[in-house]
């Protein structure tokens, strides 16, 4: 496709120039924003503030990271977020994949009604307070359980998975299996699921990233600091400008920590985004594929 489009025509000169400059400029801005966080996190804060750190780090020191990893809240927030993300994603898959498969089958009586019920929740809801009251009456406020449960079902993801099943599990396969006496359950587990590894990967990534980044549910439902996920602690440090609570008794070290508090904030950004940044280059194509599946049915 690309080759045919790129026949060189003289009048394309200006168009090409505009296209290339726009793309490069836009990409450079986004890249620089991310790159600057990295160099600012290892530079001397005074030099950063004075505008000396623009392209390369100045006064390089990895001290901020030393303090960050000694902050009890960040460590506990990290552990909590890993816990919520792991079990939350597991629960999400358990809820979404079988339901999506069931709803993809033409011979499932009632699929249209169930689908309508689900679509309706995308456009209308009870709102924050009524939801809070339901969760309160279930005695789930300020429990770890609620952060695992909430967000474990997204209608949008269900539609994505359902579309995948509809287009990738041929009806003939199902009919042939039925003739051979294969039950619905067995067909799902030994034929449909092995053919659906890519959608399971996509669902895992979507749910896991959403979970790792989620902030709202913890803000509303969690009050004890020991259960805070990372994002809530990040908010205290990044946005409310709280200092680290690292285990330092030495007054000099304490003073230094204050001095580099701004640098520490850049470092915190890196540390918290690390898991996503590490896996991102390897799984980018799965994410993109997810959007493409979604676009088939609008």
């Amino acid at each position: 496709m690309e080759k045919q489009k790129n026949y060189k025509i003289k009048t394309d000169l200006v168009t090409n120039l505009v296209i290339n400059i726009t793309i490069i400029l836009f990409t450079a801005i986004v890249f620089y924003a991310l790159y600057f966080v990295v160099i600012a996190s290892i530079s001397d804060p005074d030099k950063t503030a004075a505008g000396e750190v623009l392209l390369l780090p100045k006064g390089v020191s990895f001290k901020p990271y030393w303090y960050i990893f000694r902050d009890k809240r960040i460590v506990s927030g990290y552990a909590n977020s890993i816990f919520y993300t792991f079990f939350g994603t597991l629960l999400s898959l358990f809820i979404t994949i079988p339901a999506a498969y069931a709803l993809s089958r033409q011979d499932f009586v009632g699929r249209k009604v169930i689908m309508r019920l689900m679509l309706f929740t995308m456009y209308f809801g009870g709102g924050l307070i009524p939801t809070y009251m339901v969760i309160d009456s279930l005695n789930l406020v300020n429990t770890r359980a609620i952060l695992v449960i909430l967000g474990s079902f997204s209608v949008y993801n269900l539609i994505l998975a359902r579309t995948f099943f509809q287009t990738n599990i041929p009806l003939e396969l199902q009919e042939a299996a039925e003739i051979d006496g294969c039950s619905v359950t067995r067909f799902f587990f030994s034929i449909a699921l092995p053919l659906s590894k890519s959608i399971i990967a996509i669902m895992t990534l979507y749910y896991a990233v959403a979970r790792w980044n989620s902030f709202f549910d913890a803000l509303i439902y969690i009050s004890s600091a020991s259960k805070y996920p990372l994002q809530l602690i990040l908010r205290d440090i990044l946005i409310q400008g709280q200092n680290l609570q690292a285990d330092v008794t030495d007054p000099d070290a304490f003073y230094e920590m204050q001095r580099i508090s701004r640098t520490i904030r850049y470092g915190v950004i890196i540390v918290s985004s690390l898991p996503v940044l590490i896996i991102y280059p390897f799984v980018q194509k799965h994410f993109v594929k997810g959007v493409m599946i979604g676009s088939v049915k609008g």
Binding site: M1, E2, Q4, K5, I9, D12, T15, N16, I19, N20, T22, I23, I29, V30, A33, L34, F36, A40, T48, A49, A50, G51, I95, P98, A99, A102, F108, V109, I114, T121, F124, G126, G127, L128, I129, P130, Y132, M133, V134, F153, E178, V184, W212, S214, F215, I220, Q231, L234, L238, R262, Y266, V268, I269, S272, S273, Y280, P281, V291, S295, G298
Partner: protein
Amino acid sequence: MDNASAKNVPAANAKKELRALKWRQYKKNIRKTWVLYLFVLPALIYMLLFNYLPMYGVQIAFRDYKATQGIIGSKWVGFKHFKTFFESYQFGQLIKNTLALSFYSLIAGFPFPVIYALFLTYLDSNRLRRSSQMITYAPHFISTVVYVGMITLFLGREGVVNNLIAKLGASPVPFMGKGEWFRHIYVWSGILKSTGWNSIMYISVLATVPPELHEAAIVDGANKRQRMLYIDLPTLLPTMIILLILNTGQLLNVGFEKAFLLQNSVNLDYSEIISTYVYKIGILSSQFSYSAAIGLFNNVINFAVILFVNKMAAKYSEISLW
């Protein structure tokens, strides 16, 4: 007996038989696939608990909810809370802020993914295309908390943006210190974050354009600009309309997180929107009924907008959500 009713008898019979046949097919299917009800059960339980039970509980918007009396036991007050809200001095400002933020985002943000997708497909260098995509998709995965943290660091008095402005010889801009800046910061930072990711949908649609169309256009002497405008743009139009509908449907649902996190004492006149207000009234000051009423008002209007926009789209372009 007259002829008409005699003719109708077989027709009615056929209809009955058809219904019976359908019914038998249903029963057969249910017997065969009953286990699928177990497959959807967890999803249904989740929906019941966290989507439909709250819709039942929304009646507290019409009551004076007291925890000791329960939902049903609390006194019925009709539209009292709605009236209080409409008459409160915050009402006008909340609506204005919410709509301003959403319309601004919608209109300013809409063209960029389309342009980016179009330009990417006409890029000569495959390497540039791939690295550009890799970089511009990345911000999508940054959490709102971290992103707002970056915004406040970058736009602060000694932030990198003001340092760059100083390098260019201009005087610093008090981005975070002036409420007027709030909307621009909110919208344009959103555009930087999501243009790449939102373009994927368009890129995948562009891949469906048959190459013959472009070949024919080239033979006819069309240049890139013309092919973009007359072949690719029309292909993207249906997707653009669908996305516009979806986005318009979210007009009053401006994301809570970003506005809430960007909020400070200086920009409150611009950054207080319905969802942040619902949070403050409901969760922070525990006025459950009043807060539920504001939330319900928001959701009902929103739902009406979706229905309306969808109807218009169906009428004028044969494209709709359902």
